[in-house]
């Protein structure tokens, strides 16, 4: 076991992937000498050369489109989109080509492409640098979508994503890039839980919080605060957003009968909508209260001075927990405000 930040864990995963398979190559803006604006590819160009760690022209459709061609030639490109808000110029190539080529060719073409996206807010960034576009990709058949919440998962899931013969959108919660954790760099990939499985991040019995990415931390903090109120919350880290591991989610909801879904992206037709719909369909008779969604508001991401009012925090999660517990709302939330300072 090694202690690594989430960013360093991804770096280690990329390094291992480059080492293991010479058809793997990295492409992106500023990923070479600079090592990426978050230093996630630090040192890789120096080690593997400019043919395998490629600084591309500044054009996201171009990056993804040429990666499609490289995949057709037998390569396994790992593409970096510099920030979440810059993936949209590549949307056409992702939706019409990356996602569909396997289907369009009746399975003859494979698209083992990974698209890494530093993702979401809470870091005081400028406009377009704090987007949560995951629902767009979850709604797109043909893509797999994952989001790591800790260094160990980041390392393992990155390697699984690279090994997958399907295209994977790999979301990296940028406000956790510096969060540390233990990583087993030597473990056999075959022993690791498959990428598509969710993880019970904390067991509990009174209500379930389903979330992913950086919100997993916030949910765990909320569970801790709720303990003081005598509430036992189960926290599920989805890890895979498409497909969603409904077995794990439904098992938890059947146990607790109450569920709060939280994410940073807007609510309307977000991943939370899919979760609440699927939970309702599959666990209807177990639900003791309507599920609650705690999400970013249905607004564009706000200026950074106001982002703390947009990204759901501990209090907003607890407020929703109170509602699913059918308790007078606001009580535990207000009391939890005291410990909020330490959370983000």
């Amino acid at each position: 076991m090694t202690t690594l930040t989430l960013g360093a864990a991804i770096n280690a995963g990329l390094s291992k992937a480059l080492e293991t398979d010479d058809r793997v190559l990295l492409m992106g803006e500023d990923i070479g000498k600079l090592g990426g604006v978050f230093r996630v590819t630090d040192g890789l160009q120096q080690r593997f050369g400019a043919q395998r760690v490629v600084d591309t022209p500044l054009a996201e459709a171009g990056i993804v489109g040429t990666a499609v061609g490289l995949a057709l030639r037998g390569y396994r490109p790992v593409v970096e989109i510099q920030f979440d808000g810059f993936v949209y110029p590549a949307f056409d190539q992702i939706v019409c080509q990356v996602a569909k080529l396997h289907y369009r060719s009746s399975g003859r073409i494979r698209m083992p492409l990974v698209i890494r996206i530093p993702w979401a807010g809470g870091v005081g960034a400028a406009e377009h640098h704090s987007e949560s576009p995951e629902a767009y990709f979850v709604h797109t058949a043909g893509l797999r979508v994952v989001a790591a919440s800790n260094p160990q998962d980041a390392y393992v899931m990155l390697r699984q994503a690279v090994a997958s013969d399907d295209p994977v959108i790999f979301f990296e919660p940028k406000r956790l890039y510096h969060a540390k954790g233990e990583v087993d760099l030597e473990a056999d990939l075959a022993d690791a839980p498959p990428m598509h499985l969710a993880r019970v991040a904390q067991e509990g019995t009174d209500a379930t919080i389903v979330t992913y990415g950086a919100q997993v931390r916030t949910a765990l903090d909320a569970a801790l605060a709720a303990e003081d109120e005598g509430l036992s919350l189960e926290v599920i880290d989805l890890r895979s957003l498409s497909p969603i591991d409904m077995n794990t989610v439904a098992a938890s909801v059947r146990k607790t009968g109450r569920v709060v879904v939280t994410h940073e992206a807007a609510r309307e037709a977000g991943v939370g909508a899919e979760l609440v719909a699927s939970i309702t369909e599959q666990c209807f008779e177990y639900l003791e209260a309507p599920p609650q969604r705690v999400t970013g508001h249905d607004i564009p991401y706000p200026p950074s001075k106001l982002e703390k009012h947009h990204v759901p925090d501990l209090d907003r999660i607890l407020f929703a927990v109170d509602r699913v517990m059918e308790r007078g709302t606001g009580s535990s939330a207000a009391s939890a405000a005291a410990i909020e300072g330490g959370v983000r």
């Binding site: 190559l25 171009g62 489109g65 499609v68 497909p243």
Partner: protein, 373 residues
């Protein structure tokens, strides 16, 4: 000529649709004329090869007519005719090596023929049975691209791969005049130039993008764009099959020698409608179409070959028979096609196991079974 100059002042005179100043070695009436840049590339072209060019153009035209007929008869949902564009399709494909890989649009029937497509390959997608009928590895051709221009980036990426493999394989992107307005096509030039990728861009300027004349996309000759990206270009008469072979050989040779991308603008004309759904009489003059019949690519090469004694009536008969045979095979492949089991709808969305989709499949299969009781 190699396009090295795009002065706006010069350009003000030129017109994106002009064919007169495009390079050629055969005049419309089949007369052989010299062209210093093109001639060296076809000096060794044998009578046998020239006859093959002619034959493939005839086959392409026949096949194309069959596509139209099958659509009219309700056997195909749609067809995009390529009549008039046989020279650029067949000529450029002719110059390829087996290891090269083409990225065609929906209209490149002559390119597919040149790559060795089988009868069913031409029609199953247009019939709505499959999105892409052929195996890309068998004929080294990507699925036909409908998203205008997207394939230009795929070709560039494939070429970057070929380069990394140390091979001399070349990627070829085929697209139309309309496509040159798309961001993707321009980004492809940036990437190709930046990485010196062994890719050839073949733009068939057939004067129209559905109802829009090429002048909506470009005021000046399209070939003038590539040099600005550091990519040498040629502007050729796309109805002169020999010029098309020559230009393609020039471009392929550059790519194989590590000199990077090239751009070919083949000035040609879409004689038919955009697709069988289109009615071109709404937007273009009969005169214009009529004028282009006098530049027919097949008649042009035929006149030359006959004049040179390389082709006679019996040769032509043989070609006509081969064309009819191909058409018959295509028709048979089309009419004989059966629609696959609906359960296969769910296959190949993912290459690896996918539980939820497998459950959707099982549920749908079960649902369908309910009707059989």
């Amino acid at each position: 000529m190699t396009y090295t100059q795009t002065s706006p002042d010069h350009g003000a005179a030129a017109h994106a649709g002009d064919v007169d100043d495009a390079a050629r070695v055969l005049e419309p009436d089949g007369t052989r004329v010299p062209d210093a840049e093109l001639d060296p590339w076809i000096a060794d072209l044998s009578p046998h090869e020239m006859r093959a060019l002619h034959r493939d153009m005839v086959l392409t035209r026949r096949l194309d007519a069959e596509g139209v007929a099958l659509q009219r008869q309700g056997q195909l949902a749609l067809w995009a005719p390529c009549r008039g564009q046989e020279a650029v399709q067949v000529g450029t494909a002719h110059a390829l090596a087996p290891g090269d890989f083409v990225f065609p649009s929906y209209r490149e029937h002559g390119v597919l023929l040149g790559r060795g497509a089988q009868p069913a390959d031409y029609v199953l997608a247009w019939r709505g049975e499959e999105h892409s009928a052929y195996d890309h590895t068998t004929i080294n051709a990507a699925p036909p691209q409908i998203i205008i221009g997207a394939q230009s980036l795929h070709a560039t990426g494939w070429a970057m791969g070929a380069q990394r493999d140390g091979s001399t394989d070349v990627a070829v992107a085929y697209y139309g005049d309309g496509a040159t307005s798309q961001g993707d096509v321009n980004e492809a030039m940036v990437f190709a130039s930046s990485f010196r990728a062994p890719v050839v861009f073949v733009c068939s300027n057939n004067q129209w993008a559905i109802s829009e004349p090429v002048t909506v996309q470009a005021k000046y000759p399209i070939a003038g764009r590539a040099p600005g990206f550091g990519i040498p270009s040629m502007r050729i008469d796309g109805n002169d099959a020999l010029a098309c072979v020559a230009a393609m050989r020039w471009a392929l040779d550059r790519a194989r020698r590590g000199e990077g991308p090239s751009f070919i603008e083949a000035v040609t004309y879409r004689m038919g409608p955009h697709t069988t759904s289109d009615d071109p009489t709404r937007y273009r003059d009969a005169d214009e179409v009529e004028a282009w019949t006098r530049r027919d690519p097949i008649e042009r090469l035929e006149a030359y070959l006959r004049a040179e004694g390389m082709l006679d009536d019996s040769g032509l008969d043989e070609v006509a028979r081969a064309a009819d045979a191909l058409a018959a095979d295509v028709r048979a492949a089309c009419i004989g096609a059966t629609t696959r089991d609906p359960a296969t709808l769910f296959d190949h969305v993912y290459a690896e196991p996918h539980g939820p989709l497998e459950r959707q499949k099982a549920e749908y299969v079960q649902y369908l079974a309910g009707f059989e009781k």
